[in-house]
């Protein structure tokens, strides 16, 4: 294990990718007789040993229900769970721990805001503004709440490079706009959106802003106070933590005014058969027994990320992205989908004459895991008039050798299918 560093490393600190790779047991296997090359990190990331150990440790030593018992194990489980909340708070630089709500993932975070905040605040004729590059999880919950309230969904268009048309964004922001929901980083295109321009502009017309940070959390340092966003959602499994746990950050004044999302235990203060008073945030929004081991393991994933340093990860991945972009650009007939000037380590591409599915199966045979399909972003595919792309998305453990494997695999694909 890497030693915990107290101060941030300097930019010249070497990046020990081979050492990090050894932290991830799953990476050392062979797939179809080849060393696994895992390039599907935008779908989900692999888990380091420390995260796996945290889960095991929790169940071996501390398992109990939280906030309910006076016995020792319950006290320990509760402490571990609440420690995890504090860890997330610091990770996002949120002002208060009550602003951190554990949910199942980014999807549940968006649904919670849509159904609690949206449903209680939206009226006929109000507008919700999303973008053309959203994941289905940041489209469908808004369509649902618009249907329920009579609000209208508006969409910020994108250009051919996969960047938001900011003139259009400013034009679409009006006093009718109540909510802006935008992804920090697009999973299909890799685009990093200009939140520092978007959020103040939304506030200026009186709208609140939800940022979908599912793809950002593993790649960039995030500071919700600096961003001044009102809501921020993320998924544990995309940031080297377990699946089934995620986070909703919400500004405390907004959360306090919001009605519950689900009813049950934990979220109440008093219950009689006639009437219930609700608990304060965050518990008001955490009905039922939460994913305790998930939260605990997410906290250890955060430790792991911060130990390497998100700045270092971001810099390393940027260099890898540049290397991969240049290497893939050499392949005849390859068209990149998503060429924004500000991009995370996601490469999506298309050949006119070779279908992504054939590429996916072929690369899999070489031990290379990529994603093929519409990436839960069908409107993006429609925008480029293609059914699907092949996507390689990089994580902190990917290497140039792996990029070379990918290029070599694609050269073979071209030979067979052309």
């Amino acid at each position: 294990m890497t030693p915990i560093t107290q101060s941030p490393r300097s930019a010249s600190t070497p990046y020990h990718v081979e050492q990090y790779r050894r932290d991830f047991p799953i990476l050392s296997q062979q797939v179809h007789g080849h060393p696994l090359v895992y390039l599907d990190n935008a779908a989900t990331t692999q888990k380091p040993q420390v995260v796996l150990r945290a889960i095991q440790h929790y169940y071996e030593q501390d398992n109990a229900n939280v906030h309910r018992g006076v016995h020792e194990l319950s006290v320990r489980a509760t402490a571990a769970y609440e420690q995890a909340r504090l860890k997330v708070q610091r990770f996002l630089n949120a002002g208060r721990s009550e602003e951190i709500i554990f949910v199942r993932g980014a999807t549940e975070g968006v649904n919670l805001v849509a159904q609690s905040y949206g449903r209680s605040q939206l009226y006929d004729g109000d507008e919700v503004l999303i973008t053309h590059m959203e994941h289905h999880s940041n489209i469908v919950p808004w369509q649902m709440v618009c249907e329920q309230t009579g609000a209208h969904l508006r969409v910020v268009p994108i250009n051919d490079r996969g960047e938001l048309l900011m003139d259009e964004y400013h034009r679409l922001l009006t006093p009718r706009t109540r909510i802006v929901a935008v992804t920090h980083i697009s999973n299909a295109l890799g685009t990093i959106n200009p939140l520092r321009e978007m959020i103040p502009a939304a506030h200026a017309v009186g709208a609140v802003v939800l940022v979908d940070g599912a793809q950002a959390a593993p790649h960039l340092p995030i500071d919700v106070r600096e961003l001044q966003c009102d809501f921020y959602v993320l998924s544990g499994h995309k940031m080297y933590g377990p699946s089934g746990v995620g986070v909703l950050y919400g500004r405390s004044d907004l959360l306090r005014a919001m009605p519950p999302y689900q009813g049950g235990g934990e979220m109440i203060r008093t219950v009689t058969l006639e009437h219930t008073t609700y608990n304060d945030p965050p518990h008001r929004f955490e009905a039922g027994t939460p994913h305790i081991s998930g939260a605990v393991a997410l906290a250890s994933a955060i430790d792991y990320l911060q130990d390497i340093g998100l700045e270092h990860i971001a810099a390393y991945e940027q260099a890898l992205l540049e290397y991969a972009t240049a290497a893939l650009a050499e392949l005849p007939g390859l068209r990149f989908i998503g060429t924004a000037s500000d991009k995370a380590a996601v490469l999506s591409w298309h050949f006119d004459d070779i279908h992504p599915h054939d590429i996916g199966t072929f690369l899999d045979h070489e031990g290379i895991a990529v994603r093929t399909g519409h990436h839960c972003a069908q409107p993006v595919m429609d925008r480029y008039n293609i059914p699907a792309t092949v996507r390689a998305s990089f994580g902190l453990y990917n290497t140039r050798d792996e990029v070379d494997c990918l290029v070599h695999g694609l050269q073979k694909v071209i030979k067979v299918f052309r």
């Binding site: 072929f362 059914p387 699907a388």
Partner: protein
């Protein structure tokens, strides 16, 4: 997993490069559209009939090599068959690609269509091979045009 060349046999690559009967039949007697939401592939199957016998079969659409070759070979293999025989072929084909029938000594008896027998080793690709056939099935069953989905 078996060798990749068992999945992408020459016949499949050939039908992918040169699909047979890929055209619209404007005066089709039966027609249905199929959609695989997983990969976005679409296919439309057209049939012309005389006395319940398929006199012409064609398809339109774009997809992966497996789905294109499957549609192409479908149109070849059902020509001259009655609708009931075509449905029978669909059932046998489906059993083959889902691995429901292990090869009997005389094989599944599907002729050229047996080039798809290895699809059963690639669960993620079964829908690619079956899309055209599900669409055929719904073209035969439906009176009106409908979109069917593999999901």
């Amino acid at each position: 997993m078996s060798d990749l060349h068992d999945l992408y046999q020459q016949l499949i690559l050939d039908h992918n490069h040169h699909p047979r009967n890929r055209r619209e039949l404007p005066d089709a007697d039966k027609k249905a559209e199929g959609f695989n939401p997983l990969c976005g592939d679409r296919v439309t199957i057209f049939l012309k009939l005389k006395d319940n016998v398929v006199t012409e079969a064609a398809f339109e659409g774009k997809g992966c090599a497996i789905s294109t070759a499957s549609a192409s070979l479908l149109t070849e293999s059902i020509k001259g068959k009655t609708l009931e025989e075509a449905k029978q072929l669909f059932r046998k084909f489906h059993q083959m690609i889902t691995g429901e029938v292990k090869e009997s000594s005389d094989g599944p008896g599907l002729g050229k269509l047996e080039v798809f027998s290895n699809v059963c080793h690639y669960p993620a690709r079964v829908k690619c091979a079956s899309l055209a056939w599900h669409t055929l099935n719904s073209a035969i069953d439906q009176q009106s045009d409908g979109v069917i989905s593999t999901e």
